[in-house]
């Protein structure tokens, strides 16, 4: 197992404010699917933004393929890490194919535009994800779930070595959540290295092999899903009592957790 990305002794604080978190160490191996859990405001997204080099750490470093992430050029980084943000509308109604094709940017020179090959590449990725029928539709006029899939296609079009997802299923309905998770699972099965923040601990059992839990005091636990996803850790992370249930239906076995409301 080679380490793809490692966060080493990291701390972060906005300006001269108190640190959001400190002493964070995470190793992500090739092919891992790591889920980052934690309550609102614990610094999950901040950590996410440090990993994609939007924010700079106060101390410590983030190594990507053995090289400090700060030493990456903009397009070099874009060829290595793809980022899927939460879907949002665009100011101009580009076609979905055009949005997907924007993924070619890091492979183009400063002054060049995508050619027919790039267009075909973009389209074939949409076919692969089963969203080719969206290609000619306006990005502003498709549903939130469809937009999220288009953004995933755009990131794949970048041909990155790993993909970061920032809460890819928030404000999506049940069906769209399933569609997006299914896509993430497929990518992971194909060997893509994935880091994903989530508000839904149940998603961990569905797609992840590793999990890291943050709360307001920093890292609660991290490691393999079987070891870390315990009632104790989840309760500590979210500050509410959490119960884990084993469930089965026919041949399907699954685990899920639920807060205890009593």
């Amino acid at each position: 197992m080679t380490v793809k990305l490692s966060v080493q002794n990291a701390s972060f604080g906005y300006g001269s404010n108190e640190n959001v978190w400190e002493n964070i160490n995470i190793d992500i191996n090739d092919g891992d699917c790591l889920c980052l859990l934690g309550p609102n405001g614990c610094g999950k997204t901040t950590l996410f933004n440090c990993i994609n080099n939007t924010f700079e750490l106060k101390t410590g470093r983030i190594m990507l393929n053995g090289k400090d992430i700060r030493d990456f050029g903009v397009s070099e980084l874009a060829k290595t890490i793809g980022v899927v943000y939460q879907e949002h509308s665009a100011p101009f109604p580009y076609t979905s194919l055009e949005v997907v094709r924007m993924g070619r940017t890091p492979h183009l020179g400063m002054f060049s535009t995508p050619d027919k090959k790039d267009t075909e590449h973009a389209y074939s990725i949409m076919e692969e994800l089963g969203i080719a029928h969206l290609a000619g539709k306006r990005y502003t006029q498709i549903s939130g779930g469809e937009r999220q899939l288009v953004l995933i296609a755009r990131t794949l079009c970048q041909e990155p070595e790993m993909i970061l997802f920032d809460e890819p299923t928030s404000h999506l309905d049940f069906k769209n959540q399933a569609m997006v998770l299914q896509t993430v699972k497929k990518l992971s099965a194909k060997g893509m290295t994935i880091v994903m923040t989530s508000h839904f601990p149940n998603h961990v059992w569905k797609i992840a092999n590793k999990v890291a839990m943050l709360n307001y005091n920093g890292m609660v636990a991290q490691g393999a899903v079987e070891d870390v996803m315990t009632e104790e850790n989840l309760t500590k992370t979210y500050g509410v009592e959490v119960k884990i249930y084993d469930a089965e239906s026919g041949n399907h076995r699954t685990k899920f957790c639920d807060p205890n409301l009593d």
């Binding site: 903009v74 980084l77 943000y85 076609t95 029928h133």
Partner: protein, 358 residues
């Protein structure tokens, strides 16, 4: 779920990618180009002094291309065509194209279809510069220079104010632009207040209303180079505007050096706007209306939108300039007509697209 088979295909069986993108049919391009050429030529024989179309062509052939044509026209006809109407038409083409492309580029960069090329304070700065030149009684070239330089200075200040922590957020740019505009407008008012109201105040006022009436061939020689270079720069980076318009954060993760790109766009548009104010005064609404019109014509993809704004913007300004000199005995200032025509057109487009910008 629909299958791939339903993708539109060409007769060869290949997928018809053009139908999945904003790629206007060739005849639309031809139409836009023909319209521009037709308006350009028409503007050479329209005006109070009547020169027949065939004579115009002969004069151009003789004077510009040194063709051996028998001289059947009067010297004054040649003067009108070569020294007055031709430079005017060329300047209208350059500025119409430049301002429209600047508007479209800014709208993409600011992710906002309401933005115009003057948002960073260039027109306020350049107006103030022109007013100083007029009050100091500088020769025309001096006024043009002070105006051009103050336009650059104003945008420079805006950029400096908006720049923080190695980034220049677009919201900060817009807010700083508003501040800088307000400051230079106040300075302009002050100059007007202290200016002698017999000669200088009217001169400042008329300058700022905008006109192509005083443009000569030597002005073209001076103004065309910076404008053409800036137009070329905007054409070259146009596709990346699509990526930039998705927002700074996303553009960066897609591998765009957003700061570098913003600087290129700001410099190019500022040179175009500054030159245009320095030579022709404030020409409002062109940079706002034309990109909208073109989005309706060819779609929002900047790869086709920017060239379309170039052609349509040039045509539009030639057309308005012709209206300025034909409607009334004394010429109407250009800036008045571009706004009088532009604002209602914009209102119409707003209603028609219901704010949908598609």
């Amino acid at each position: 779920m629909k299958t791939i088979e339903e993708a539109p295909r060409l007769s060869s069986g290949e997928i018809d990618f053009k139908s999945l993108e904003d790629r206007p049919s060739p005849w639309k391009w031809v139409l836009m180009a023909v319209l521009l050429v037709a308006l350009f030529i028409t503007s050479l024989f329209l005006g109070r002094y009547i020169v027949m179309p065939d004579e115009v062509i002969k004069i151009i052939g003789y004077e510009i291309f040194n063709l051996p044509i028998e001289k059947t026209w009067t010297t004054s006809a040649a003067t009108v065509v070569i020294n007055i109407r031709l430079p005017r038409a060329i300047m209208a083409t350059l500025i119409g194209a430049g301002l429209s492309m600047s508007g479209a580029s800014f709208q993409g960069m600011f992710q906002n279809p309401l933005v115009d090329p003057y948002i960073l304070g260039v027109s306020a700065g350049a107006s103030f510069g022109a007013a100083i030149g007029l009050v100091l009684e500088l020769p025309t070239i001096g006024i043009q220079m002070t105006s051009f330089i103050m336009g650059l200075v104003a945008v420079g200040i805006t950029y400096f104010l908006a720049h923080m922590y190695k980034t220049t957020p677009v919201l900060m740019l817009i807010l700083s632009g508003t501040v800088v505009s307000a400051f230079f407008q106040a300075m302009l008012s002050f100059i007007k207040f202290v200016a002698d109201d017999e000669e200088k105040l009217p001169a400042i006022t008329f300058w700022l209303m905008g006109s192509l009436g005083n443009v000569g061939l030597d002005d073209i020689a001076l103004a065309s180079i910076p404008i053409i270079i800036s137009i070329a720069a905007l054409l070259i980076i146009r596709w990346k505007l699509n990526v930039l318009s998705m927002g700074d954060r996303e553009a960066k993760t897609l591998g765009v050096n957003t700061e570098k790109m913003k600087v290129i766009i700001i410099i190019a548009t500022t040179i175009i706007s500054s030159t245009s104010v320095a030579f022709c005064g404030i020409i409002g609404w062109v940079g706002q209306v034309i990109p909208h019109l073109c989005r309706m014509l060819v779609g929002p993809d900047h790869k086709v939108l920017i060239p379309a704004t170039m052609l349509v913007g040039a045509s539009y300004l030639i057309l308005i300039d012709n209206m300025c000199r034909l409607f009334t005995v004394t010429e109407i200032p250009l800036g008045i007509l571009t706004s009088v025509v532009g604002a209602p057109v914009f209102a119409y487009l707003l209603r028609k697209t219901r704010g949908g910008w598609s």
